[in-house]
């Protein structure tokens, strides 16, 4: 173990290596801030560039992008209420209200340090206990995934401010939207009108852009509070001041890190769900749950810690078993294989210098995005001072090119426009939009895993239920679902009375 870490350190102590980490982190922060650019796309398109670099340097750069972009989606979520990545949707729920109160810096400091700590915790897990965690990840079958999706749905109640019915409607709309396209098992196409661009459903990032960018532009142009208080922002241009606050969040950070790592190692779940579940847990354990959605620091910290803890988690099954857990790591796998490296035991023995160098580089990446994030945020904060007449067209342009570039298809711009209209309507009716994103993320998983579980039970519904309660992990998740519902109801009741 220790000699491996030493060889890793040796790999790391290379000027070129540090340079590529820095380049990756800077690129990643930019990619994360821009709503149309995803880390998956950036990494996929940069792999040919890293082709000619030595593998450890290429991987370190890709790692920097991955980690930094997962963090920096929160910057645009906080300042503009436009999540830069699906992972920062939960951050926007409290980050933006806090920023609107004139505390942008506080929100950014909280999200930055939370991301950093969550990321580092997950890299420790990757470094020290990866093999047993990877074995655990294999225990998840379709039954567990289906229940996990159900558990995710229980989070909706926590994401809804105001009438709870509206939150459920929003979540159900998301689940329904996710059923557009092929049925995952029969291949039957639904709601597509024979338009091939709809066969695979609506790309998540396209709907994220439509749902947030467009309505935000409209609401920023129609509010009358265009006068901005520059002095207020300047006054607290002191990031260090808010650092002690993060130390008060020890339990929250610990819980969210664990949630993030677990969600990360389960293949196919993803960072946005990690953020949502941690947010929900933080709200359930918080002494002031009523502050959530109105600028609660706990909410920001929970979501950001967890979504960055997911990053290290997803790399665990990837490096130890060669199983990619999300689109980013699937691309990563390609990036590893293109260098002739083979994920699995060989990576930790024959190529241990590269592997440990890469893992250690993730520590640096996670630390490095703190100063780089602050530096970029310092200028990005001034965006709120740009007149809306300039900012709005720029956001619209980014929305258009962003939705185009996901699949290189102009049809996606039109899809984005339709989702934008939906977002505008929801915004007008004061319906929360975060549950819709959650529904979209969970919908495909819920539907396909339910269908697959039924198929695995040879179509017998009773066998299906027997499997649900006899498989150990599935039973645990089932109990968690029941507990979440119970907690949700009691809290909702208390809230309504008080």
């Amino acid at each position: 173990m220790f000699e491996n870490i030493l060889t890793g350190l040796y790999t790391l102590a290379d000027g070129m290596m540090l340079f590529s980490i820095a380049a990756g982190v800077i690129g990643g922060v930019i990619v994360g801030i821009l709503p149309g650019l995803t880390s998956t796309m950036a990494i996929a398109l940069l792999i040919p560039l890293t082709f000619n670099l030595p593998p450890h340097i290429g991987l370190a750069m890709l790692g920097g992008i991955y980690v930094a972009s997962t963090y920096s989606g929160s910057i645009s979520a906080i300042l503009l209420n436009i999540p830069g990545t699906p992972a920062s949707v939960a951050t926007a729920l409290d980050g933006n209200p806090m920023s609107k109160k004139g505390e942008s810096n506080r929100a950014i400091v909280l999200s930055t340090f939370a991301s950093c700590i969550g990321g580092i915790a997950s890299v420790f897990a990757l470094l020290l206990i990866a093999p047993p965690l990877a074995e655990f990840s294999l225990k998840f079958g379709s039954y567990e995934y289906f229940l996990l999706a159900l558990f995710g749905v229980t989070v909706i109640a926590s994401l809804s401010v105001g009438a709870i019915e509206k939150g459920f409607i929003s979540g159900a709309l998301g689940l329904l939207l996710s059923t557009i396209g092929f049925h995952p098992l029969t291949g039957f196409t639904r709601f597509t009108n024979d338009i091939p661009s709809l066969y695979d459903g609506i790309p998540l990032v396209v709907s994220l852009i439509g749902l947030f960018s467009i309505p935000e532009v409209i609401s920023m142009l129609s509010t009358n509070s265009n006068i901005k208080d520059e002095t207020q922002i300047k006054q607290q241009n002191n990031f260090a001041k808010f650092f002690p606050e993060i130390l008060q969040q020890k339990m929250n950070i610990l819980r969210s890190s664990i949630i993030g790592i677990i969600v990360g190692i389960i293949p196919g779940v993803g960072s946005s769900i990690g953020g949502f579940i941690a947010y929900d847990a933080a709200k359930k354990y918080s002494k002031k749950p009523e502050e959530f959605g109105k600028g609660s620091p706990d909410g920001i910290v929970a979501s950001e810690t967890a979504n960055n803890a997911v990053t290290g988690g997803t790399l665990i099954p990837l490096l130890t078993l060669g199983i990619p857990g999300n689109p980013v790591t699937a691309v990563f796998l390609g990036g590893i294989m293109i260098h002739g490296l083979k994920p699995g035991a060989e990576l930790f023995t024959v190529n241990s210098d590269i592997t440990y160098g890469f893992i250690l580089s993730l520590f640096i990446s996670n630390l490095l995005f703190v100063p780089i994030g602050f530096l970029i945020a310092k200028y990005f904060i001034k965006i709120t001072l740009i007149p809306y007449s300039i900012l709005a067209p720029i956001i619209l342009c980014l929305a258009v090119i962003g939705s185009y570039s996901i699949r290189g298809s102009t049809d996606d711009i039109i899809i984005m426009l339709f989702v934008g209209i939906l977002g505008y309507v929801l915004n007008f009716f004061q319906v929360p939009r975060a549950p819709l994103i959650l529904g979209l993320v969970l919908g495909t998983m819920a539907e396909s895993e339910l269908a697959r579980s039924l198929s695995l039970s040879h179509g017998s519904v009773s066998d299906f239920f027997i499997h649900l309660v006899t498989r150990p992990i599935s039973l645990v998740i089932l109990l968690l679902c029941a507990y979440a519902l119970y907690r949700g109801f009691t809290q909702h009741k208390k809230h309504n009375k008080g």
Binding site: S197, G340, R407, G408, L456
Partner: protein, 316 residues
């Protein structure tokens, strides 16, 4: 002013046509890939783009047109300009399956002109390393006693088709459970969620090397070079099973591309397939290469098309 502008314009356009006629390619050639960046097909395309450069004497630019299981990309290749500057990476048999199984597919197989085939990735039958099925015979015996759950990319994929053809020929039945790609079906196999899976050979080989997966048979006419010792399905079962489910990745152009350009491209890719560095790289990364020149590729295409039509009823 206007006049000089016009003459400059004329000059440029004349030079332009001149360049095309004289030395093709005069600018980078773009290659449509019908799958998203980072996927297996895309990665293969990017490797090809790197190694073909010295022979193409221009850059080969990848244009991803993903979606609908390749339909969007194949359609856009079929309608692309046939000036020799747009070619595509096509996947067989996906290109047939999409055409046969869906309504409103705008391309025809005759819209493409074959250039060269690069890869052949057969389907394999894989089980977990500690599975009781040691050989295909064990598997077959169990499959005849109870309904086994077999995972694989799907639905309506080449993997499923291959399994169904084998079942039809050998005479057994299974419960095919579609997964979102070969990768997830392997994950489910490793976790013991299913009895076996039918992934592509490339995605299985790394797990076999790690000692976690065992391949019982390769659905191909000859053994797979990166899985030594694994019998072909015909050897293992004693029945002749056609291997049309194997995935081919090759280069094609929109039809009616000029003969000289076609010849040039064919030579460029043909030479790349003999390039020492490329071969070395392919070996290192377990890329299953299978060169076919334009005519061989075309023959294979026509033969497979006929056979697939014969087995299509199995998928419906």
């Amino acid at each position: 002013m206007k006049k000089s502008f016009l003459s400059v314009f004329l000059c440029i356009s004349v030079l332009g046509t001149f360049a095309i006629a004289k030395d093709y390619p005069a600018k980078p050639v773009s290659m449509i890939v019908a799958y998203s960046p980072g996927g297996g097909t895309d990665t293969a395309a990017r490797v090809v783009s790197k190694y073909v450069k010295p022979y193409l004497k221009q850059r080969l630019v990848i244009k991803n047109k993903p979606g609908a299981g390749g339909q969007i990309g194949f359609t856009s290749l079929s309608t692309a300009n046939n000036d020799g500057y747009t070619i595509g990476f096509i996947n067989i048999p996906s290109i047939f399956l999409v055409k046969e199984l869906r309504k409103n597919v705008k391309y025809n197989i005759s819209d493409f002109e074959t250039i060269a085939n690069i890869q052949l990735d057969p389907v394999v039958l894989a089980v977990k390393a500690d599975s009781p099925f040691k050989t295909f015979a064990d598997f077959l015996e169990a499959a005849k006693k109870r309904t086994l759950n077999i995972g694989g990319d799907g639905p309506q994929s080449n993997n499923q088709l291959q399994l169904l053809i084998a079942q039809d020929k050998i005479g057994f039945k299974t419960n095919f459970v579609p997964y979102n790609g070969s990768g997830p079906s392997i994950t489910a196999t490793l976790g013991g969620q299913i009895d076996a899976s039918v992934p592509s050979a490339t995605s299985a080989s790394n797990h076999v090397n790690n000692g976690r997966l065992r391949v019982l048979a390769v659905f191909a006419d000859k053994p797979y070079e990166y899985l030594p010792g694994v019998p072909t399905i015909s050897q293992a079962s004693g029945v002749n099973v056609p291997s049309i489910g194997a995935a081919l990745r090759g280069i094609a152009a929109p039809k009616n591309i000029s003969a000289t350009q076609k010849k040039f491209l064919e030579n460029a890719f043909g030479n790349m397939m003999k390039d020492k560095e490329f071969l070395l790289y392919a070996k290192k990364t377990n890329l299953p290469l299978q060169y076919m020149n334009s005519i061989e590729f075309d023959t294979y295409l026509k033969k497979t098309q006929k056979e697939i039509k014969r087995y299509m009823h199995l998928l419906k």
